[in-house]
Amino acid sequence: MTGFTPLASLIGGMMIGLSAVLLMLWEGRIAGISGIAGRLLPPYRDSAFLSRFGFVIGLVTAPIAMIAVGDVEVSQTVSSNIPLMLGAGLLVGFGSVWGNGCTSGHGVCGLSRLSTRSFVATGIFMTTAIITVFLIRHVIGA
């Protein structure tokens, strides 16, 4: 069980949305994490490497900054099943770049732009994710 946190989730979501809007205002790019992280690897097609690197450093240091600044608790319950997490990582990395976006690029930025492709992509990844969790928790019973 995890507690229902509508207010914190709404506020956090609005911060994510604000970051996406400000990135568009500053340099005209979509705040899609798979696109930003995936393009840190060669081949390089443009000169935005430093910008992308900065954004990823910001993401990585966010929990450290939160713990340092406030007396907040950062709670993450991560599975320690190594083969499962390796498989999950491969699928998330490959699938998000192959489909041109993930939860942020399609789910937030794309839906906000009313992109047809993003509505399709978001519908598909929500569906396969829900089916996967159903199979693992209620059919296999892990």
Binding site: G13, G54, F55, P63, V78, G87, G93, S96, V133
Partner: protein, 143 residues
């Protein structure tokens, strides 16, 4: 300068993920578990983010050009090809297995959980494989 602005925006994005609960795989998996311990919180994350971006993008795009870039880099494609079906399908399976999508996984890196340290290199390898394979296909990268 762009490095520092992006660092600040990445930090804002990351803090948003942490505050919202999106960065916690347990919360994500419960959100996806409609038939079990369903936690609807993450619907509010997407709702809040889309609300702000829907309004904010309109205000920003009305400017004509970004502050530091030459133009707005917006995806223009509308076609539904095999990649926009297969990519998200695979991504969703991985998301349902581990409870991590790319942003939250990166915010978890510094906390150093064993599962995260397995997930991140695999994710990067997957991303790279998709990029290298994609170079050979006709589908242009838009996001």
């Amino acid at each position: 300068m762009s490095f520092l602005i992006n660092l600040a925006l990445g930090l804002l994005f990351g803090v948003g993920l942490l505050v919202s609960g999106m960065s916690d795989p347990a919360k994500v998996l419960n959100f996806l578990d409609l038939a079990g311990t369903w936690d609807a919180s993450l619907a509010f994350v997407m709702g809040g983010a889309v609300l702000v971006a829907f309004v904010g993008y309109r205000l920003v795009l009305a400017r004509g050009e970004p502050i530091a870039g030459d133009r707005f880099h917006l995806p223009t494609r509308n076609d539904i090809d095999a990649r926009i079906l297969a990519g998200p399908a695979l991504f969703g399976i991985g998301w349902g297995l581990g409870g991590f999508c790319p942003g939250p996984a990166l915010t978890a890196l510094g906390l150093g959980a064993t599962g995260t340290l397995a997930f991140i290199p695999a994710m990067i390898l997957g991303m790279w494989a998709a990029r290298l394979l994609g170079e050979g296909s006709a589908s242009p990268r838009t996001v």
